[in-house]
């Protein structure tokens, strides 16, 4: 009998995360993240795909304690296992009181101040240092009053052992070269407004990597850039992944970007994960998959998708508004594959994430073990 391979635990594990926001106008909770479970293995890139309102960005922002609006994160565990496991949301329960009715959360009392303090304590050294983030709008992340080089050097000094100014500058230049920015020495002294969209995105990536993180979270890194610039940033991220062996969580609504860069994909809709699995399988239109993903792929504007009637098979209805969440499956109002066998179950209870193969899970009654 062979020895079981020592499989290291996932670098990041999110369990039952719930992040709610409160709408004063509608006097109801916006259930942005409504019970999400995710795992990120070491060395892999997890792509989180979803439309607006799916909760994909908020999930990762919650994991690193960047959600400040009320009530924010209310339950969940986020375990970051670098050398030792560490719950980033520890001490949460003592600050939150929840009252249920009929299985729904009706009342939340949260001490936001003390929660933030606890979160900041938990995340010290982790946020920015071991887990780094890059965002959609690079100009928003860069300080317009400092030069690019200074900001990268600051990141080096804060998060690595190099404290001297000269060492930090050398390291900053090294990272600028790594992100293939042209004329790194020139760009070191540029201010962010002197850089184009693509270049400032590279600068932000350099700043994030200069901290030498274990994991990089990229939240819509290519959205808003020109098509040809997007392609170059994607090439860059691909290159960095291979060379540095980075673990990455990539959040995007663009299936093309996700498919190029991710090893595994999680599809989110209405605050929940609907399916996970290896990229090729999730995006394979002929294989088994969640009706939402299949319908989404079939409706993307490509000539191949046009049916005989001259139409694209569009998903009818509107994207789920996470305030009025229907009972049963969240996608059932727009689902085309409901049949008589599953009809009742779809309407009354929400399916679990059924594991149809190791590492491949689908939240749909059509794939339940019975």
């Amino acid at each position: 009998m062979t020895e079981p391979v020592n499989i290291r635990p996932p670098l990041l594990r999110v369990e039952n995360l719930r992040t709610y926001f409160y709408s004063r106008v509608k006097r109801a909770f916006v259930r942005s993240v409504d019970g999400v479970d995710l795992e990120v293995e070491r060395g892999e890139t997890l792509g989180i795909v979803g439309e607006s309102g799916s909760g994909k960005s908020v999930t990762m922002l919650s994991a690193v304690g960047l959600v400040t609006a009320g009530p924010g994160v209310i339950t969940g565990n986020v375990t970051f296992h670098d050398e030792a496991p560490q719950n980033l949301l520890q001490g949460l329960d003592s600050n939150v009181e929840i009252k249920h009715r009929n299985g729904r959360i009706m009342h939340i009392a949260k001490n936001n101040q003390s929660w933030q303090k606890q979160a900041d304590l938990n995340l010290r050294g982790v946020r920015g240092g071991k887990i780094s983030m890059i965002f959609q709008n690079p100009r928003a992340a860069l300080n317009p009053f400092e030069t690019v080089g200074q900001q990268i050097a600051e990141s080096v000094r804060l998060h690595t052992g190099m404290k001297s100014a000269i060492q930090a500058k050398e390291r900053a230049l090294y990272w600028l070269e790594q992100v293939r920015i042209d004329s790194p020495h020139l760009r070191y002294d540029n201010h962010p407004y002197g850089l184009s969209g693509g270049m400032s995105q590279r600068a932000m990536i350099a700043m994030a990597l200069a901290a030498e993180p274990r994991m990089l979270i990229a939240d819509e890194p290519t959205t808003g850039l020109d098509a040809t610039i997007q392609a170059r940033i994607v090439d860059l991220l691909d290159d960095l992944k291979t060379r540095l062996g980075m673990t990455m969580v990539l959040i995007s609504h663009d299936i093309g970007v996700i498919s190029r860069l991710s090893n595994r994909i999680a599809v989110m809709y209405g605050g929940r994960v609907l399916e996970t699995g290896p990229t090729a399988e999730v995006l394979d239109e002929r294989a088994d998959g969640h009706p939402y993903t299949r319908a989404l792929l079939a409706s993307t504007p490509r000539r191949e998708n046009i049916t005989e009637s001259g139409h694209l098979p569009a998903i009818e209805g509107e994207v789920l508004d996470t305030i009025n969440v229907p009972c049963g499956c969240r996608f059932r109002e727009r689902c085309q594959r409901i049949n008589d066998t599953v009809h009742t179950r779809c309407e009354t209870s929400e399916p679990e994430l059924f594991e149809i193969a190791p590492g491949r899970r689908i939240r749909c009654w059509l794939y339940s073990p019975q």
């Binding site: 439309e51 607006s52 293939r180 042209d182 004329s183 184009s196 693509g198 270049m199 020109d226 098509a227 040809t228 610039i229 997007q230 392609a231 170059r232 994607v234 090439d235 609504h253 299936i255 093309g256 970007v257 190029r260 319908a295 989404l296 409706s299 993307t300 504007p301 490509r302 000539r303 046009i306 001259g310 139409h311 694209l312 098979p313 569009a314 998903i315 009818e316 509107e318 994207v319 727009r334």
Partner: protein
Amino acid sequence: MSQPILEVIELRKHFYQRRGLLDALTREADDRIIPAVDGVSFSLHENETLGLVGESGCGKTTTGKAILKLMSMNGGKILYQNTDITAYTPAQFRPLRRDIQMIFQDLDAALNPKICIADTLREAIRIREPDADATAVQHQIYELLDLVNLKKNKLSNFPSELSGGEKRRVGIARVLAVRPKMIVADEPTSALDVSIQAQVINLLRDLQAQFGLSFLFISHDLQLVELMSHRVAVMYLGQIVEMGPAKEIAHSPRHPYTSVLWSSIVEKRSMEVPSGAGPNAWGVFDFERPSGGCRFAPRCPIYAQRGRPIECTDPNSPPTLKSINQSHMVACHFPL
């Protein structure tokens, strides 16, 4: 195809960037001219969709707005149904606005946030029929809602209460209310969720079939444009670099930029070659010091492949649109 409904000839639009004080003192005090649209020519026929593709800054939106006279032009001619409307005053042009309409890129563009949907549509209907009585107008409002698949209970809502897809549909309904003959659609699906985009695309195709509309379909997405258009024109930095039937442009492009664009969009893979020659290497075109000749040369993989031929950067022989076959034109010294 018969006579073109719209002809644009050598359209030019410049933006001026005023020199700062220091520059005026130290260098020549010319205001910087940015040729956003630099000699664009095309024609649009009835019942046809011409796609205009390019990235930001290529001048496609500016071209669209110039056709609608929302921007003044610096040169060229526009012919609508064979009449030269270039020099029309705003008052002369206003009756023609019913025929030429625009769907704006911004979802909120068509909608005054303080006016409810019913009143917005009513206002548009009254442009065409100022004397219609209230019942006739109400009837037409319902017709428009049916055309764009919008529920009647949205009539009393304000724009802030609608979703993205619904706002886009109201914008389309408003444009249809004046019964145009051609529509300039500027990125009609960009701001929408993927699952909603298909709905809007189907709607636009249906409307074209039903009303015989002509579309100038502006987008950065080559795949989408291939789907929607009969013919496609590819723009780069203010000029058309390739124009031809949609299928040929998409699947057998002849201009290096088109092929780079296609691979960027479909495979998210960059085919460009960094020439390492300073800031221009990464495609930041400097209008101040134009390298002369072909504008795409610094980024062109063919330019690098062929060992940087001198024709490409010779300012005396810039590439011009030449026909390859009956319907396909390319502006390149070394077409693929």
